[in-house]
């Protein structure tokens, strides 16, 4: 009843009937684009506000509490401030790369965001290699970071970018392998198929052992890919002031910031989709639980998706505000000598599991 899929299909059929095919499609594309961008920005605001409030709680502080109720308008004030700030021009930087870097980081994150399915019938794009596309396009961000570090003509940014490159490329492997493990179980790369395959039981419950291992590895690797503590070496503020975005100011810095926060949500969103059933409600696959399943199904799908994703975001915040930072060699050691071998073995286990039990 509260689902939005009927609304979406009504709009679609209405447009198709009223307008020629090409015009309807154009309007739909624009509509989806605008909605996605709006959602992107609103989510970023919510995430930043949540982070500030939650980390304040971890640190026995109050967090923002002056502007608006519970400080909720603080973010609007900060956003206006960052928009009005002067953009400092760096005289000896490579101008073209300097600006391209910014957009690459943002585009990478935005394109990944577009492929997520937020609820029943709420998918921007849906095609047969969806998860492959997500993995591929999310790596675009690292190019942006490398370019930012290189073009700024600053030693701190260069060290930050080199660290970032090493880190992201390494952790991409573990993240990719653990997703691949789940694809063996799913048997499809299509995001809709993956979600539909979890209608009765989430993948993490379908193959508990290998799926759980893959889930944990994905969370660690994904956390590392978002450049947040304890993996925030590229921007380790106590060593490199701000790492690769040291030289960016005003809204340019804001865009990196935006991309970073949304990446955190995207990682949580992908983990939700692949391991926790996407927008599927929690179901118990047994006859006696029909009533329970009915109640769960009554909760709208988008609430399920955002609920799960925000739980994972909370986990990420918790980790970030508890642990100290790793050093670059320890970071690479963790990936290449621990996480990757486990991932490879885990993939084999999953294959055997699928052969034996499915």
């Amino acid at each position: 009843m509260l689902e939005l899929d009927n609304l979406v299909s009504n709009v679609h059929t209405g447009l198709m009937e009223a307008l020629p095919h090409w015009a309807a499609l154009t309007i739909e594309y624009i509509l989806i684009g605008v909605l996605m961008l709006a959602l992107y920005c609103v989510l970023a605001l919510i995430l930043i506000f949540l982070e500030r409030k939650i980390c304040a709680r971890f640190q026995c502080r109050l967090g923002p509490n002056r502007v608006g109720p519970w400080g909720s308008l603080q973010l609007i004030a900060d956003m206006v401030k960052i928009l009005l700030k002067e953009i400092v021009k760096i005289s000896k930087s490579d101008k073209i790369l300097f600006f391209t870097a910014l957009f690459l980081a943002l585009i990478g994150s935005l394109c990944t965001f577009g492929a997520l399915q937020f609820g029943k019938g709420l998918a921007g794009i849906d095609f047969n290699v969806g998860i492959f596309y997500v993995l591929a396009i999310s790596s675009l961000g690292v190019v942006g970071i490398l370019l930012a570090g290189w073009s700024s003509n600053n030693k701190y940014t260069l060290i930050g970018a080199m660290r970032s490159g090493a880190q992201l490329i390494s952790y991409e492997l573990s993240a990719g392998l653990s997703i691949l493990t789940m694809m063996i179980l799913a048997g499809s790369l299509n995001i809709s198929d993956i979600i539909n395959g979890q209608a009765h039981s989430w993948y993490i419950f379908q193959a508990p052992l290998p799926a759980l291992v893959a889930f944990i590895i994905y969370l660690i690797a994904g956390h590392a890919e978002t450049n947040r503590g304890p993996f925030d070496l590229p921007e380790a503020e106590s060593e490199l002031t701000a790492g690769y975005h040291t030289e960016y100011s005003g809204i340019q810095y804001g865009m990196f910031y935006l991309a970073e926060y949304l990446n955190m949500f995207i990682i949580a969103g992908i983990a939700t989709t692949v391991f926790l059933g996407g927008w599927q409600p929690f179901q118990i696959n047994a006859d006696w639980a029909a009533g329970f399943n009915g109640v769960m199904s009554y909760i709208p799908s988008y609430i399920w998706f955002f609920g799960k994703a925000f739980m994972l975001v909370l986990l990420s915040l918790w980790v970030r505000w508890t642990f100290p930072r790793l050093r670059i060699d320890q970071l690479l050691h963790l990936e290449w000598k621990i996480l990757m071998p486990i991932s490879l073995v885990n993939m084999l286990v999953m294959a055997v599991w699928v052969v034996l039990f499915f």
Binding site: L233, E237, S238, E239, P324, R325, L326, I328
Partner: protein
């Protein structure tokens, strides 16, 4: 004492030992190196302090030596130039590493030329500064040293002169370059989130590996020692707190003790006990901040906030009784400024169990954290010999196993009547330097716990003359502040201003340890090792 006599007489003939506060030996510049080498080989392996002097008709250098073997032993070595023109004194920087920075300081302030010093750059003032400000005939006319308004190249800072005599006895200057061509040099500071002040480090990197660290001082040099020469003793007290602002109470205590020693004042027992409580509370506050900053430098901001939160409780105690929070201004010559506040005792008694509980939480949150352990263990190892040679005292020295706690060696203000342990660790790595601070907080709590329950009741201040004039002579007082052995040297001519004041800054030696400790470590560790040494820049720059 017999032993020192033997050492001295075997090193050079005709030397006599004067019995002052510490045994004092005057040597000529020619004899200096021989005596120094002999003393070093006979166990005087620590050069605690080096003071440059202007005696109006000539210049001099005073060396305060001590030993790791016999830690009670102190020896003062004095060298004087024949006149104001012939300023050459041989270097001892190859004998005691800590002399490296000390001699640069004496050169910078007095123009005393240390022959053979490998790096005789000016340390606090600019390389092109005219005149030597601590000379009594210094011309402070601002037109001689105008404020430069154009960009200057940084290479001026990299030229390291070495002075030597050639065969004909002529002074020649050899110029060494700090960095070779093509070295990847990164400036860390003076404005940087992790240098804990305005320290400027020039770091030569190979990838992420550190090859060389060159600390560049003087960004917050205020000439406090020079200012002291024109201030009365009660006025100087205010300046002492501004050296190492995190152990201000202890620095002020040191100066009070030094002046009281000179005046022969008997400080009431109650004042002594309250001073010690304040000292220990300051030590806890300083260690908490040091702990928090170290955690923050490793990326754990939550720990930093926890440290600041608990430090706030100490600041509240200070505010209630002394009025100030960071600069308490509570110790005066002769005792305390006023009686303690009514709430003082209950506040302190409340704080002790709270802090003990929190220490346990810190260990759970951070000390036992595998990432933190992985970052700290085995990093930046400093041996006991290194610590002694570099003069690294305080918690950092004790983490290397050097028992150098002045509270035990030369007890002052009744520390000998309190039961506490000197915490020692043996590893000398960053983790030891980290851990020892938390252990010292517990010992400080123990001291406070005893004193607050046994406060004597004999007044808060001894009677002092209205105008304080120290009798002519030299006085030296050591105090254990939060960072190490803090020393005050006063040379008085009987006037109401001192003739010369020198503060032995523990932070300067801590910074000089950065180079040897960080070689071949990663740049992330430079920040962490620096944080574990816990230096405060205004203390080093003075």
């Amino acid at each position: 004492m017999k032993k020192i006599k033997d050492i001295i007489s075997s090193a050079a003939s005709g030397l006599t030992i004067e019995e002052q506060q510490y045994p004092t030996v005057c040597v000529s510049p020619e004899q200096l190196r021989k005596v120094a080498q002999k003393l070093k080989s006979e166990g005087f392996d620590v050069l605690l302090n080096l003071t440059g002097m202007d005696y109006n008709d000539k210049f001099g250098v005073i060396y305060h030596l001590t030993s790791t073997v016999d830690k009670m032993a102190m020896l003062v070595l004095k060298v004087q130039t024949p006149d104001r023109e012939k300023l050459d004194i041989p270097t001892v920087s190859d004998i005691w590493e800590s002399a490296n920075l000390y001699e640069r300081e004496a050169y910078d302030f007095f123009g005393i030329r240390f022959i053979g010093h490998p790096d005789l750059r000016r340390i606090f003032l600019r390389a092109d500064w005219n005149g030597f400000p601590f000379r009594k005939d210094y011309d402070a006319n601002p037109e001689l040293n105008p404020v430069p308004l154009v960009n200057q190249t940084i290479s001026d800072m990299e030229d390291m002169p070495t002075l030597s005599f050639d065969k004909d006895g002529k002074l020649v200057t050899k110029h060494n370059q700090l960095f070779e061509n093509g070295e990847y040099v990164v400036n860390i500071g003076p404005q940087h989130p992790a240098t804990h002040g305005v320290l400027h480090l020039r770091v030569s990197l190979e990838g992420e590996i550190i090859k060389k660290v060159d600390p560049n001082f003087g960004y917050i040099h205020r000439g406090i020692e020079k200012m002291c020469e024109s201030k009365t003793y009660p006025q100087i007290l205010q300046l002492t707190e501004r050296l190492d602002y995190l152990s201000g109470t202890m620095n002020r205590h040191a100066f009070c003790l030094c002046a009281e020693k000179a005046l022969g004042l008997e400080v009431p027992k109650r004042a002594q006990a309250v001073r010690v409580i304040f000292d220990e509370l300051t030590r806890i506050a300083s260690h908490l901040l040091g702990w928090g900053c170290m955690c923050m430098d490793m990326g754990s901001i939550t720990a930093f906030i926890y440290g600041m939160r608990d430090r706030e409780k100490i600041m509240d105690i200070f505010e209630e009784t002394g009025g100030g929070r960071l600069m308490v201004g509570y110790n005066v010559i002769g005792g305390l400024a006023d009686e303690v506040s009514d709430k003082f005792i209950s506040q302190v008694k409340e704080f002790i169990p709270y802090m003990r509980k929190m220490i346990k939480e810190y260990h759970v949150l951070f000390s036992e954290n595998p990432i933190a352990k992985g970052r700290m263990q085995g990093m930046g190892i400093m041996t006991k010999e290194q610590a002694a040679s570099l003069g690294v005292t305080g918690p950092s020295g004790r983490a290397s196993g050097w028992s150098c706690d002045v509270r035990k060696i030369e007890p002052y203000a009744g520390y000998d009547q309190v039961d506490f342990e000197e915490v020692l660790r043996s590893g000398g790595d960053t983790y030891d330097r980290y851990y020892i601070r938390l252990d010292e907080i517990e010992q400080s709590l123990r001291i406070i716990d005893y004193l607050i329950n046994n406060l004597p009741d004999d007044g808060f201040k001894a009677k002092t003359p209205a105008i304080i004039k120290l009798p002519a002579g030299e006085y030296y007082q050591r105090v254990e502040n939060a960072r190490g052995d803090f020393g005050v040297y006063i040379n008085s001519t009987g006037d109401k201003n001192p003739y010369r004041v020198k503060f032995r800054s523990p932070c300067m030696t801590l910074i000089s340890a950065l180079g040897p400790l960080c070689r071949n470590e990663k740049i992330a560790d430079l920040i962490m090792i620096g944080a574990s040494l816990d230096y405060v820049i205004p203390c080093a720059d003075r």
